[in-house]
């Protein structure tokens, strides 16, 4: 436990404590924000009662499918593009500009094509996440030191062996960075589209609660998203550190 973690914990605890105080004393009105402790207790009761079970399942299914699709297709596309330098040179300016375009503006297009439901949500989430994985794959493959491939050649390894035993492990940290980004974008894409237009899902539930002035439900769900993101991030970061630790001297 170093001083930074301690300070951070104090900062976060202090902030939450302050909000709690301001809510309890009604400096912040109930209609705007409910006390964090209330959010938590309501979340626990709502989850244990299984009220939002269907929506939670809907959202996490979307996130998992979108993330998986984005990671696999992103990796394969990255692999393919890396082996075709001329295609890559043509593609690179487009990839660089990709995240400049607010991809969300195509959500209405997907809704018209796929209708409201899993399809359009997963589509927009994949659209958001896939390029991060492609870029990470390209960078990872680039960064494999040439000397490793030369060593593989000297050891007379086959192409498949080289790819599996040398190139993949060497590129793994960068690939994992892409995985982290893809998961984050998938999460954002799914929840945001459900919020804007959907019939089910956590995002939809938050919008519904907002429109019906159900602040306790709304904040409970927002807290759920916050906790989920923090946990998923922490898990991914843990794996990332394990991966990096072996490579540091």
């Amino acid at each position: 436990m170093n001083i930074e973690s301690v300070l951070r914990a104090l900062l976060v605890a202090g902030f939450i404590g302050l909000i709690e105080l301001l809510c309890r004393t009604h400096v912040i009105p109930q209609s705007v924000l409910i006390a964090p402790s209330q959010m938590l207790t309501h979340l626990v009761s709502v989850v244990s009662a299984g009220v939002y079970g269907k929506d939670i399942l809907f959202s996490f299914t979307n996130i998992a499918v979108a993330a998986l699709l984005a990671i696999v297709s992103g990796f394969l596309v990255g692999l393919a593009v890396h082996s075709m330098p001329r295609l890559r040179a043509a593609l690179e300016p487009l990839l660089a500009s990709y995240y400049a375009v607010p991809t969300f503006i195509f959500y209405p297009v997907f809704i018209v094509v796929f209708g409201v439901g899993h399809g359009s949500i997963i589509a927009i989430a994949v659209l958001l996440a896939v390029v991060a994985m492609i870029t990470a794959t390209l960078t990872g493959l680039d960064r494999i030191p040439g000397v490793l491939r030369k060593s593989a050649a000297v050891m007379r390894m086959s192409r498949l062996q080289t790819a599996w035993r040398i190139e993949l492990p060497a590129a793994l940290p960068y690939l994992f960075g892409g995985v982290k980004l893809a998961v984050a974008y998938a999460f954002i894409g799914v929840i945001a589209s459900e919020f804007i237009l959907s019939g089910s899902g956590i995002g939809y539930a938050i919008a519904f609660a907002y429109n019906n002035f159900e602040s306790d439900n709304m904040y409970a769900l927002m807290l759920l998203v916050l906790i989920s993101v923090t946990l998923i991030n922490a898990a991914l970061n843990y794996f990332d550190r394990r991966l990096q630790a072996r490579r540091q001297r």
Binding site: A90, S97, G203, V229, N233
Partner: protein
């Protein structure tokens, strides 16, 4: 000119794919490239499109200004003070990863519908990347620059203006490029559910009316604007590469 030829050909191929998709799915779901462009042209002739462009632009300029100033100032402060930076970084990274859409209801409750909410959304999306890039730029700045400033007996203000800021400029520009895109995204998303004006609103409104050509035209217009601005910033980025 010859260098962008492959990219140009790729874009042409993508447009051809678009046309192909249109033929498969039908004009009821996806308008063809030509239809989209001509619809956009006709919309540009009316005042309606331009007033919406103006609304979006106004919100964007406010949001971008706030995100820039806030991001750079805070980034410098957190970069210079190592402890504060180390404490804040994980919190900021976590905030960055949260789907900010989950905080939208809170923003709406604070700012109501309309311009302030849109600006708030934009700033929410754009400030953190600018902050993080600026902060990292300062941390990774070579210490020998400030030591040189010390030996040349510069005042703290002189060190800040003549050494620190020029040294971090390339990274800050990279952060601003990202912040630009995200601020625009934030403003547009905000318009999609919290406003009666702006391009985001136009798209959602058209969706409600089943007006596919308008949706596509608006998407096309935004894509063109976004890509143009990004290319300009990339050019600026390259100019700074002589370092």
């Amino acid at each position: 000119m010859l260098r962008i030829l492959p990219t140009f050909l790729l874009v042409v191929a993508l447009i051809a794919a678009w046309q192909g998709l249109h033929l498969v799915i039908g004009a009821g779901a996806l308008t063809s490239p030509w239809m989209t462009v001509s619809h956009l042209a006709s919309m540009m002739a009316t005042g309606d499109l331009w007033s919406n462009v103006g609304a979006t632009a106004k919100a964007f300029v406010y949001a971008m200004g706030l995100a820039l100033i806030g991001g750079i100032v805070l980034g410098v402060l957190l970069g210079v003070n190592r402890l504060a930076g180390a404490v804040a970084e994980p919190i900021l990274l976590n905030l960055y990863a949260i789907p900010k859409v989950t905080l939208y209801p809170l923003v709406l409750l604070c700012f109501g519908l309309g311009l302030s909410s849109k600006v708030a959304f934009g700033v929410m999306h754009g400030l953190i990347p600018i902050l993080l890039f600026t902060m990292n730029a300062i941390r990774q700045m070579r210490p020998v620059y400030l030591r040189t400033a010390g030996t040349l007996r510069l005042t703290p203000i002189q060190s800040l203006v003549h050494v620190l800021l020029p040294a971090i400029l390339p990274e800050v520009v990279a952060g601003v490029r990202l912040g630009f895109a995200l601020t625009l995204l934030g403003v547009l998303i905000g318009e999609m559910f919290a406003s009666q004006r702006g391009l985001g609103y136009m798209a959602v409104n058209a969706m409600g009316l089943g007006d596919i050509p308008t949706i596509m035209s608006v998407a096309l217009l935004i894509t063109i604007i976004a890509v143009t601005c990004n290319s300009l910033m990339l050019m600026l980025d390259k100019k700074l590469q002589h370092r």
